[in-house]
Symmetry: C2
Subunit: 480 residues, 2 copies
């Protein structure tokens, strides 16, 4: 017998996604087969094989980590995604929803009934519910509130009150607190009475009667110390205290810099409110980095790769519109010089070079400055130094690349003056790019805006219109 | 008395950088004062005040966390940076060097003698030394090797052998191992005999006589379990096992997805080699995200913001050169149509719009695809679906924006045919952008290259040259 699949690579279902894709394909082929048989014998037999196949998918799915299920859902086209979603056990629903991207979460939530949604939150902590709330329908939120005990209701209300990108939004309430006057022996016995410790418990928080944070007892310290030691003698008072209103980025910086696993969150009176853990910080860093890349490219928000076309169009609309306006302006700048171009049509072919290289160079400067701002490396005392350095880099680049382009122009058009004007225009446009590459992000920061947002579009607009104006202007004055 | 500084904000030395900047400024003003006095009384008095000032800086500096010192050094211009660096105590040198960016580290190392460098490594673990080695002079590396005990020499050799961006490069050797047949009581006593546990010890590794990994005992489990339990009964066998040759990104994905604090690294025979901890992973994620942004903007590597001009020029050289070539090509495409432009000079003013919006749209597509590739959301079974979706988005955008631009063209130039050609050119160039926005990163990946690297430059090159060609070509055929 000849194996028809002989020349094909065997499917290696090594990753969960590949496994599910394989099972789904099998399911669909069976569906096709069943439909074919149905047509032939007109008997509409129940498809037992198919059912068994779905069960196989379900079994496989529900032994996976919620993060893996979320990952699979994100990689599936909409119809497959909803089929798989319907097979996920409801006790995993909440955690899977937490792990998916906002865009994909929305597609899943629209497919769920209100009761299902309320049930999904049952297995979640209040800080996790707070993360879901913005995506839930209003009446579901009300039902969720009603389903919670009073204390958790308060926690949820608190968690929901913190703005996105604040420390409060990253905070959870899974803190173990101890008193400072007990022996470590007692602490160990206390812990042993708990069934399990919250994830990422690398320290216990030492508080007084008023819940005020006095210090932290590192688990590693607890393990190596003599059990007869008093907590007060084993705890550290040097610790990171975050405040719920702090910018989340600051917390992320602290975690990165001081290699933290968890950190306390306190209010203005040092009362312990909760903690932030490193896994939340990693998610924050990843999301932040992703959003920056998306914003730079002109996408408003994370996009479900299988979003309907019109939804995607909407996501990309804003920046394209801005780009359109700047392109119009650049076009009108060229329009000013139509007479010059008519007299010397080579100008039309050369002008995009000046604009393009200016844009590239300006984007290099701006990226460096935005990064240095994020790392808090720029202040009033060194800004001037930075500006002169960037202008210096542009001058060197302008002289070198400008000369090459000038020579190229001379060779192609046999016009030495035109070559010289190309060189001059290049130098001037690169200087303009450096100047604004430093000033735009610094100004945005001064105005309290995110220096990354839109910087790239603005610098390109300036180097385009500026480049056209400088080059065509010089040519009009000196050549024509 | 009138306070001269009345209208100035008081200096609030809240952050270490501000404090150091303040102290440095004071030091320099004193220096100026001393020089002035010297000139007057010609006596060259020793500047006691100045000395005391330097001591103040030194005292402040050496109580800071090494990461904070590194941060300060990065934010200072070269001369100030070296002054401050000379004040850092030599026992902190190694850790500070580890925390600085590559570019800044190089400036610090060139200022250090060989003996100083060898001394700096004394306080570091072997995996940390391995991180420094690429930046050290050859003879220093030899000296460092000689200074190590044999076991650590082997570790260092192993750590140095792993390629950058592999799990091996992230690994450290700070593992605590236990046997599976002892009681937890014994484990607790064993830990108590250690002076301290390595940072990020959230689990102990259970190995047999041959160092083969049998399971892990979570510290949290250890704390809540009955001390009479046998390790084998308390340990988990379901654990993440990394391999030193794995891509570091995979480890980062695992840490993010499964919320890990540490993970074991084993060889092919399951022998425990070391571990990866979450702090290293965070540094990796940050650096990776930073490098991506830099590469997109056409910077080869992280740049010291106060690098000498020529060094910066070199860092930006490569991408500018590529950009120059693509700009030349685009220019020659326009050159092909000089006759057409001469006949209808409006073409020159309109063509950058077609090219610019195509570039923007293509970059949106490519960013999305690169991101989806990084998240492992794209496979052969859905690539086709993605392509048709992106083409659909482009068609809608082309129809809408193309019509607006067409109308604008008609209003400005009173030429309906020209408007129609603008609309058509926009649609076609956006479709081209979508097609290549999907194909370029997928092809790069297929060829085993980083799909992010250079994607943006390539798509812009295509939409520029393509946009000019489509627009001018259509105009030449239908208008002239």
């Amino acid at each position: 017998m000849i194996d028809a699949n002989n020349d094909k690579k065997p499917l290696e279902p090594s990753s969960p996604i590949q496994q599910i894709t394989y099972l789904l394909r099998k399911y669909k082929l069976l569906e096709g087969l069943v439909n074919l048989q149905d047509q032939q014998d007109q008997s509409h037999t129940e498809s037992l094989v198919q059912k068994r196949n779905l069960e196989e998918i379900q079994t496989y799915l529900n032994q996976l980590h919620p993060a893996d299920i979320a990952h699979i859902l994100e990689a599936l086209p909409l119809d497959d995604r909803l089929l798989i979603w319907s097979l996920v056990k409801s006790e995993h629903d909440g955690e899977v929803l937490l792990e998916t991207s906002d865009a994909v979460r929305a597609t899943l939530i629209t497919e769920m009934g209100n009761q299902e949604l309320v049930a999904a939150t049952e297995y979640l902590d209040t800080d996790e519910i707070a993360d879901l709330v913005p995506d839930l329908p209003q009446d579901v939120i009300a039902d969720v509130f009603r389903s919670l005990p009073i204390e958790e209701r308060e926690q949820l209300r608190a968690a929901m009150s913190y703005p996105e990108d604040s420390v409060g939004a990253l905070m959870d309430f899974d803190v173990i607190t101890i008193r400072e006057d007990v022996r470590l022996e007692v602490v160990l016995r206390y812990l042993r009475r708990l069934e399990e410790l919250p994830d990422h418990t690398d320290q216990l928080f030492v508080v007084d009667r008023n819940e005020q944070l006095k210090g932290v007892l590192l688990i590693n310290r607890l393990l190596v110390s003599d059990p007869d030691t008093i907590v007060a003698d084993a705890m550290t008072k040097e610790m990171i205290k975050l405040h719920p209103g702090d910018v989340a980025q600051q917390a992320a910086n602290a975690f990165e810099r001081y290699d933290l696993v968890s950190a306390s969150v306190v209010d203005d009176t040092d009362k312990l409110l909760g903690r932030v853990t490193v896994n939340t910080v990693i998610d924050f860093i990843r999301e932040k980095a992703g959003n920056e890349a998306l914003n730079l490219a002109g996408l408003s928000e994370e996009e479900d790769i299988f979003a309907p076309i019109l939804k995607s169009v909407k996501n990309r609309w804003g920046w394209l519109a801005i780009n359109l306006v700047t392109a119009f302006i650049a076009s009108r700048v060229i329009g000013l010089f139509e007479d010059s171009i008519e007299k010397l049509v080579a100008l039309a072919a050369l002008m995009p070079i000046v604009a393009g290289i200016g844009g590239n160079s300006g984007n290099q400067t701006i990226t460096m400055i935005v990064r240095a701002l994020a790392l808090d490396q720029i202040n009033t005392s060194n800004a001037w130094k930075l500006l002169t350095k960037e202008m210096g880099v542009s001058l060197v680049n302008g002289l070198v690349w400008g000369s090459i382009i000038g020579a190229f122009t001379f060779v192609i058009y046999q016009n030495a003056e035109l070559g010289l004007i190309m060189t001059m225009a290049m130098i001037l446009n690169l200087l303009l790019a450096a100047l604004l590459g430093v000033l735009i992000p610094l100004t945005l920061r001064k105005l309290g805006r995110d220096p990354a947002l839109g910087s790239s579009v603005m610098i390109t607009a300036v180097t385009d219109s500026g480049g056209f104006f400088i080059f065509l202007g010089l040519a009009t004055i000196f050549l024509l």
